[in-house]
Symmetry: C2
Subunit: 400 residues, 2 copies
């Protein structure tokens, strides 16, 4: 490992045991295991996928799980699903098991892109205006690339190759709608995930096409190809949290990440810490609230609960099997850990920025106490969301 | 014509001569004429399309027309282009000549949607959260449906049918990026159009899928199937302007419109006026600035410049042939009339809301004078946009 990488690892809080470390195979991802692994797959997991894929033949009648809620969740997933299924016939699942495909020709002739400073500024500006809520640059790192992809067709491994020389990873964050997340657990909250993916697909495809139009290479990726979490941290977008999610200063953990591998000579961002490790060390909000008891309350360790955890990395580790079994039980993804996280708040409000400042220093115990008293993490009933009495949803000028 | 329709026409300012009126055929749209009509089609129009469709083989070297500008414009179009070309093999051009296709199965069993008040509120809330910047409900109106579609394959008319009983039209507005529009005319400004369409496609497909998941019918449409302008006015989203565009109170004319035909029993919005007719009567900003002299300075009339204008409607009418010939000349869409329109301003700012209030009443002459003095409609150089010194583009929390 180069010295630069060591320095970056230290800054990012990555503790990797080089001897024990093994790259993660996407075959072992709990979602994929729910297809091929009989210890995970059962009637419930099958029904879980069915509620997303088939026209609402199955649903629960509980609050937040009415047909309206499923109708909206699946509608929010619609565009992401379209891209995912576009090349199913050639055993691709774009954005989830394979990178998003290049959909149009682009230039083969390289444009003069100016200095690395110039092109980095251009890429950040272009990403923002095309719809990225956050953007940062990380170095390509073999360790975070899946050792293999998962083939739905063969129900086994297939190669994970994106080509040589893609030394930079543009990491893009899409904020999810907090008013939906506040209703978690519910099918309605799952709409936040779906729309996050759909918007991510649009943004990643557009940024990648911009790069390709300049004659450079770009491989847009959502959950496929590599682990988004370490890349987002290396891109300086946030710090790792107890729930296994990246906590960003702008949106807390309420963000989806996408990435674009490229050969553009982009300047790297630096990992940054703003007191999250210390806060998560104190706080057990996600541990206590997790309906599946999948988030341990202890210290970071390299213990693996099962094959769905990576080997040789000391960190807070979530039990993916338990997590997903709850999703299968409720027929939707969960997001309770995002709702209850003290960092999930409207950071554009002064009061919340003051809170974040407090959480960053020695008064973090006070910050945590204030958060617990505030009730902001309480579940909003899906009925209230629909009636509009809970969280007000207004059409406001966004880009006037 | 029913009395209700007459009342709505009067409110909307529509002056239609029932004897002279003829539905418009999309075959006569100037974009389609540039394919089949030798009086419009020439080397320049062919090159115009080529710069959008082929990897940047042609471009001008003027400011705002560098390869970076084209690269970004075409990237912004990327997702809209993808949907447009998805079913080209069966002579469809989704979103432009044909409605966006249903991409997934949906429910055939009707859900209990509650009262018309309830479902209207639900649709507006869902549209907003799925990304619509504006939303309103218009009645279906045969007059604004194209008498026929244009077939690229046969270069002639094909039927324009969407089925019976789709009595309501949900009209959706997508704000375009003003910092891009400020650089018009430029290839860079064309990125605002492209991204508007791409986002429109995502939003329309998602809303339509929500409706279909409830067991109702929904036909999502961009430029295809019917005229967006009269529907947007009937949906109460804005008032008709001299440049032939709808001026909205929220974004001025800097908006793209999409629509969804549906059988949901939605409550209608009412057309509204806020002084635009009176202001456009005074103002000649678009007339004076139009590089193609395509926007007359006179009074509304039913005069047609050529077959690309509708018959039997008294209104301000733009000469589409002149307009498009300028686009072909600069290899990009123009948008100068949007840039210079006094209503194109950040209406979330108090000062601009005060201006709009002034523009609404007897002091509109003063409002116009203030606008002319302010220089806000001046072109921002594309180089300034890229360097960030002109209009600042920040990544700000959008949906925290």
């Amino acid at each position: 490992m180069t010295e630069q990488l060591q320095t970056r690892d230290a800054k990012a809080g990555f503790v990797v045991d080089a001897d024990a470390f093994e790259r993660f195979s996407q075959v072992d991802d709990v979602f994929n295991r729910s297809w091929w692994d009989p210890t995970v797959r059962d009637e419930k997991t099958e029904k879980f996928y069915e509620t997303y894929r088939k026209p609402l033949r199955e649903w629960r009648k509980a609050r937040g799980f009415r047909r309206h809620d499923y109708a909206l969740r699946n509608a929010a997933w619609h565009v992401a699903d379209h891209f995912a299924e576009l090349f199913e016939d050639i055993d691709r699942r774009d954005g989830f098991l394979d990178p998003l495909s290049a959909l149009r020709e682009a230039s083969t002739e390289k444009e003069d892109i100016g200095s690395p400073e110039q092109v980095t500024a251009d890429i950040k500006k272009v990403s923002a205006i095309l719809g990225a809520d956050l953007v940062g640059i990380a170095p390509y790192d073999e360790r975070w690339q899946y050792s293999s992809r998962y083939s739905r067709l063969s129900e086994s491994a297939k190669p994970n190759e994106i080509g040589e020389g893609l030394d930079r990873v543009i990491v893009v964050g899409q904020a999810m709608d907090a008013s939906w997340i506040q209703t978690a657990p519910s099918a309605l909250a799952g709409a936040a995930t779906g729309l996050g993916y759909s918007q991510d697909a649009l943004v990643l495809l557009s940024i990648a096409q911009f790069i390709r139009n300049l004659g450079y290479r770009a491989v847009p990726s959502m959950n496929d190809t590599g682990l988004a979490i370490p890349y987002a941290i290396q891109a300086g977008l946030g710090e790792y949290g107890r729930h296994g999610l990246v906590i960003t200063p702008e949106y807390g953990p309420n963000v989806r990440f996408g990435k674009i591998y490229t050969d553009l000579p982009l300047l790297l961002d630096e990992p940054r810490s703003f007191g999250v490790a210390e806060m998560c060390d104190l706080c057990r909000a996600c541990t206590d609230a997790c309906p599946a008891s999948a988030i341990p309350g202890g210290s970071p360790s390299d213990e693996r609960y099962n094959q769905s955890n990576i080997k040789g990395v000391t960190k807070w580790t979530v039990d993916g099997e338990k997590c997903f079994s709850y999703w299968a039980k409720i027929n939707s993804d969960c997001s309770v850990c995002i709702r209850v996280c003290p960092y999930t708040r409207d950071h554009s409000k002064l009061s919340n920025r003051v809170w974040a400042r407090l959480a960053q220093g020695r008064l973090r115990t006070l910050a945590l106490w204030l958060h617990q008293r505030s009730g902001t993490a309480d579940r909003v009933s899906p009925a209230e969301w629909w009636s509009g009495n809970g969280t007000k949803v207004e059409i406001t000028p966004r880009r006037p």
